[in-house]
């Protein structure tokens, strides 16, 4: 505490389950924790609203897999916010978490002052952030008129501000596709979506209903090689790219525009996790977790987009419920699944697999895995090999395997320090 230097004003709180972030993951996990017996549940959020990004996601498609109905973002989150209220869950708005530690203490600051929330379990649900021009290092001038797609969504859907008239979108992630349609609907001229990969990065349904329905061009295997404009952006130079994503000389084309939106990927937000000493996975950008979504620190759980960047809120919520349930069990029984190093199975992504969650297992029986392939692959089989012996072989269910794939696999008895490798068989 001496480091913070505010001992005298420190507000002390004790709590069962504390959730960091009030987006869909945080709210769903908080509700689940309450339903599975945690008496006192607090959700902390730095914003002055509840629901994270969903209030600005006014398009529909939320809830299809989870509830069988298609809702807009605000409608989806409203169902859970109501439920959280009815369950007596406290949401602390405008409260920023500064740090957490392995004693399960949260230090947070709000207008009331500095507080220490001693918790029995902590759930990380901080979400993710958009990549910016700085992450991509696009050459050229540094004019105004360049926004991330999500920021443009905030401007248009919440504040009634149009970011520009002639728009180019870099990246075909779902937010970019949704924003292409949104801008067109609001009267802008959307000149095209530029994608460096040879296939679209967003869901097929969004390619159809956001681009094809509105005749917006999608340029695959292309990237922006220069941004030009003195004060405001006035053009981008695009080039075709080869198999290695390298621009091909003499393929340059000019697209005049006054606005460039970037939809080039999301980064899980884990500054708090990293500072607490939680070990992160380089591929997911989120904490390493076991089958209960428990991180490498006992009592701390992770869910939502800070764990892995999800394609849909539905699967995110399904997983967040498990994290919430387990955090409640831990809070009630004080049961720390502490046997990490010895009894664990280490799960490794093998050939063709980008990442897999959970990365650690310490029980036998059915385990719910989620993973991504390195590239789309329609007609493949996935093998689960425990110490080089195949224990499961599954067919890919989805035709668009750029997305997260879910598989339930039964884990048999195993010896300590086993390795489970997941492999794509072409």
């Amino acid at each position: 505490m001496e480091k913070l230097g505010c001992e005298k004003k420190l507000i002390n709180v004790t709590n069962d389950v504390s959730v960091i972030g009030s987006g869909p993951a945080g709210i769903v996990a908080g509700i689940s924790a309450r339903e599975f017996g945690a008496k006192k549940v607090i959700i902390i959020d730095r914003n002055n609203w509840i629901g994270g990004i969903l209030p600005q996601c006014i398009h529909d498609g939320f809830g299809i897999e989870e509830m069988g109905i298609s809702l807009t973002g605000p409608e989806y989150i409203d169902k859970y916010v109501e439920k959280a209220k009815n369950l007596g869950i406290t949401v602390m708005k405008e409260t920023t978490v500064l740090k957490i530690n392995n004693e399960l203490e949260i230090f947070a600051v709000s207008r009331k002052g500095l507080m220490k929330i001693k918790s029995k379990s902590i759930i990380l649900a901080m979400g993710c952030r958009e990549k910016t021009r700085g992450n991509l290092i696009i050459p050229g001038d540094r004019p105004s008129g360049i926004y991330t797609a999500g920021l443009a969504q905030t401007f248009i859907n919440l504040y009634n501000i149009m970011p520009g008239k002639n728009i180019v979108i870099l990246g075909s992630g779902d937010v970019g596709l949704i924003m292409a349609r949104r801008l067109k609907i609001e009267g802008a001229n959307v000149k095209g979506v530029i994608e460096i990969l040879p296939y679209p990065n967003g869901l097929p349904r969004n390619v159809v209903q956001c681009l094809k329905d509105y005749n917006i061009p999608l340029l695959l295997s292309h990237t922006i090689t220069s941004i030009e404009g003195k004060d405001r952006i006035n053009k981008v130079i695009i080039s075709k790219v080869d198999k290695n994503k390298k621009p091909i000389p003499d393929t340059e084309k000019i697209i005049k525009c006054d606005t460039l939106l970037l939809s080039v990927g999301l980064i899980p937000e884990n500054e708090i996790s990293r500072n607490a000493g939680i070990i992160l996975d380089d591929s997911t950008g989120g904490p390493l977790v076991n089958q209960y979504y428990r991180t490498t620190i006992p009592g701390i759980y992770a869910c939502g987009n800070c764990l892995q960047v999800y394609d849909t809120v539905d699967l995110l919520s399904i997983h967040a419920k498990i994290a919430g349930k387990q955090s409640a069990k831990n809070a009630i029984k004080g049961k720390n699944h502490n046997n990490y190093a010895e009894k664990n199975i280490i799960v490794k992504p093998g050939t063709g697999i980008k990442y897999i969650i959970p990365q650690m297992i310490n029980k036998t029986g059915i385990i719910d895995f989620s993973f991504r392939l390195e590239k789309p692959n329609k007609f493949s089989k996935i093998s689960f090999e425990l110490n080089k012996n195949e224990i499961f072989r599954g067919n890919l269910k989805y035709s668009n395997s750029t997305g997260i794939i879910n598989m339930k696999v039964k884990i048999p008895n195993y010896s300590p320090k086993s390795i489970l490798e997941v492999i794509l068989n072409e």
Binding site: P55, I58, H59, D60, I64, E65, S70, T72, P74, E75, D78, N157, L158, Y159, N160, I185, L203, P204, R205, V207, V208, Q209, D213, D311, T312, D314, K397, Y398, S399, N400, G403
Partner: protein
């Protein structure tokens, strides 16, 4: 063979690619569920979409209220409906689910609010 067309189903994140005969609506392959079969037939006969957008709200804590059609509307009427939405404004407060325009352009679909916007103090 020329009667064959490929339709990407938009009903769920899977996005089945369904091959269908445009003339006799015979499904050739690709649909993983019943809903997809129905969708691809409708897509050939009369493509429909849910439209989501926003309209101006006066005296609200936000300048806009998000809205949607409560049923899918014909695709070729999207921009006609948007023209109407552009000219529409409401007064706060408006509750989620409230009907703002009934039976828009005789489509049988209502424009409803998808969020609650309270009156500004």
């Amino acid at each position: 063979m020329n009667d064959e067309t490929k339709i990407t189903c938009i009903l769920c994140p899977i996005g089945c690619e369904i091959r269908i005969n445009k003339k006799n609506l015979f499904i050739i392959e690709g649909a993983k569920c019943e809903k997809g079969i129905e969708y691809s037939k409708n897509e050939v006969l009369d493509p429909k979409r849910i439209l989501t957008s926003s309209i101006l709200i006066k005296n609200g804590i936000l300048p806009l209220i998000s809205v949607k059609t409560n049923k899918p509307i014909p695709k070729d009427k999207l921009f006609n409906i948007l023209e109407i939405l552009k000219k529409t404004s409401v007064n706060a407060p408006v509750e989620m689910g409230e009907k703002i325009i009934r039976n828009i352009l005789n489509t049988g679909s209502d424009i409803i609010a998808t969020k609650t916007v309270k009156k500004s103090k």
